[in-house]
Amino acid sequence: MTGIDPRRAVWITGVGLATPLGHDFETLERNLLEGRSGVVAVSSFPTVDYPSRIAAPVTAIPCPPSQSPERFGHLPRIERAALWSIESALRDSGWWDRRHEVHVGLVLGLGAEWMELWEVDRLAGGDRVQDPAQDERSTLDRVRAALKLNGPSVTVSAACAASNFAFEIGRDWIRRGLADVCVVGGCEMAVTPVGLATFGNLRALSRRNDEPARASRPFDKGRDGFVLGEGGVFCVLEASDRARGRGANAYAEVAGFGASSDAHHHVIPSPDPAPASRAVRQALRDARVEPHEIDHINAHATGTPVGDAGEAAVLRLVFGEALDAIPTTSTKSMTGHLLTAAGAIEALACITAMRRGAIPPTINLDEPDADLFLVAREAMPRRVSTVVSNSFGFGGANSCLVLRSV
């Protein structure tokens, strides 16, 4: 392992994904920039009695090369999504064949692991939820063993803010020398019969069932809730000097992180923008950038009436007049809300803006309902170097990531 350097630059050198908009980065980028929606009518189970019958599901997760297709097909969907996207990220980074030479850490954002596993088993007639002996190994344990990862690992969740926290923990492990390489991200497969019902009964989901592709409408006057999405998205982190030394392809630097809590309510965001603004300010300070130096904001904005308005107030409080010149988007309009994986897929959307010189749009934005410079309906050509990505979650969790091009 390498030495300790608390300011050491940490880069993203690999990405892997299983998402509603594709299972490789090129496909995801193309779909994001073309403004395609991954939202469809749910068809994997009967939904006639559901208040919300739409979602952005992941279908046909590919089997990673290291796994047996027969065994892979019988694994829980969470595990399949994690295995595919983590192995893909390590292969993309160039570390897969050399992973035994280094400490590879894993920070897995995953919030409803046991609920999802117990549900699938129970609805198939099993008794796993009543029998702890069947739960000895977590998804983290199984994935780490299957992929032969040998560094520290942890499962974390701040609900929909989980992935951003994973980036921060992974960055610290690299700087501290706990891991030479760290895979970070999130995975959630919540489009299940009970998952769709519980979010629907919470009145959190859009009921625009007749127009699935137009249902996710962040910052639009007609928004009526978020659309449940799912997926697994992971990035490989390593120190910049190590990456440079081996001639690695670098996607971006993880330049800043900030986090806070509302301490207001279990599920309702605070009407006071101060707590969440503290997370954004902390991330800017950590990245050593001023508000006017930010080129683009990927907002958390899920499409709920209260949440989107609240985030707009947070951004105005932090950025002031500079906000009027910063293009802001919510890619959840296309991907749906990937919950614990949301921060990770939105990091990839930010990287897309850097790499392609174009900011992915907020689709379905017919009547903007926020005092923001919104990227409406079509991608916006723009040189992008430094990006803010917000992720807020249940439990009053606020997080902000700053990514910088390298």
Binding site: P51, D172, P193, A263, F394
Partner: protein, 274 residues
């Protein structure tokens, strides 16, 4: 495992234990605590009566453990903790409720599904509830969720302190002992108690307990041994009872047995053992 049996290790992360509190509650005691209007001692403000109404029993026990820790510290007010983070490592949150919820879904379909499942039984829920009751604005995060949640929680909390993300961390570990096995009504098939341990951690070398919590890497994997609320509390109590002010002790591992959780003596400002 005694220190002499421990294979060579390298220290990764450490924090000072400022105070701790352990509760071991039966279900009726949890039900009683849930209704308290003052989950934390004065001068902490009272909470809304609905704050813990739908929370998992482990979450209620977690709040009780934080209360006991504050009492052990002499009831300090909220101001010194306003920026502290919360890391909550629960094991199998919501199992008893999910038996009923899943079977009700099978009987009644989607309309029978409670909207409280994600807010109160997903991994983030305990940390979120603690953050709400403590009223601070530092970050909150759930860690673990399964058998080895304890080591996940320790690793996460020590990482936060190491990166200076927060000035201190409330690390709370909860679990049922023995593990909760629900019947079809969600009732336990055998007597069980909920254990909850709260640790007030700071980045210093020696807190009020003169003990440090460490995460270390072993040269050779050991037999995996989960770190639970009871295991850490037992280690701390034994530490006090033996008046042991030097050395270190392995008290559990992660699921691989390679990453170890240890207790060690605190250090004075000059770096010598106290």
């Amino acid at each position: 495992m005694s220190p002499s049996q421990t294979p060579p290790t390298s220290d990764l992360l450490a924090a000072a234990i400022e105070a701790h509190g352990l509760v071991r509650l039966a279900r009726p005691e949890i039900a009683e605590y849930r209704r308290r209007p003052d989950p934390l001692p004065e001068p902490w403000p009272a909470s809304r009566s609905s704050t813990l109404r739908n929370s998992d029993e482990q979450t209620v026990a977690a709040v009780a453990a934080v209360r006991q820790t504050l009492e052990n510290m002499g009831n300090p007010g909220p101001s010194q903790f306003k920026d502290w983070g919360v890391v909550a490592a629960s094991r199998f949150l919501g199992r008893s409720n999910l038996v009923l919820a899943l079977d009700r879904f099978k009987d009644e379909g989607p309309w029978g599904v409670s909207p409280h499942l994600i807010p109160h039984f997903a991994l983030h829920a305990q940390a979120g509830a603690l953050s709400l009751i403590l009223g601070g604005h530092g970050p909150n995060l759930g860690a673990g969720g399964g058998f080895f949640a304890g080591s996940d929680g320790v690793l996460t909390a020590l990482s936060w302190l190491d990166s200076r993300l927060v000035p201190g961390v409330w690390l709370v570990l909860t679990n049922w002992s023995p593990e909760y096995r629900p019947d079809l009504n969600g009732q336990p098939l055998e007597p069980t108690h909920c254990e909850a341990l709260a640790l007030a951690l700071s980045p210093g070398q020696g807190g009020n307990e003169s003990a440090r919590l460490l995460m270390v890497e072993s040269a050779e994997p050991m037999a995996p041994s989960p770190v639970t609320a009871g295991v850490i509390a037992e280690g701390l109590e034994g530490w006090r009872a033996r008046e042991r002010l030097a050395g270190r002790e392995t008290i559990g591992t992660d699921s691989t047995g390679r990453y170890l959780v240890e207790l060690a003596a605190g250090l004075d400002p000059e770096g010598a053992s106290t």
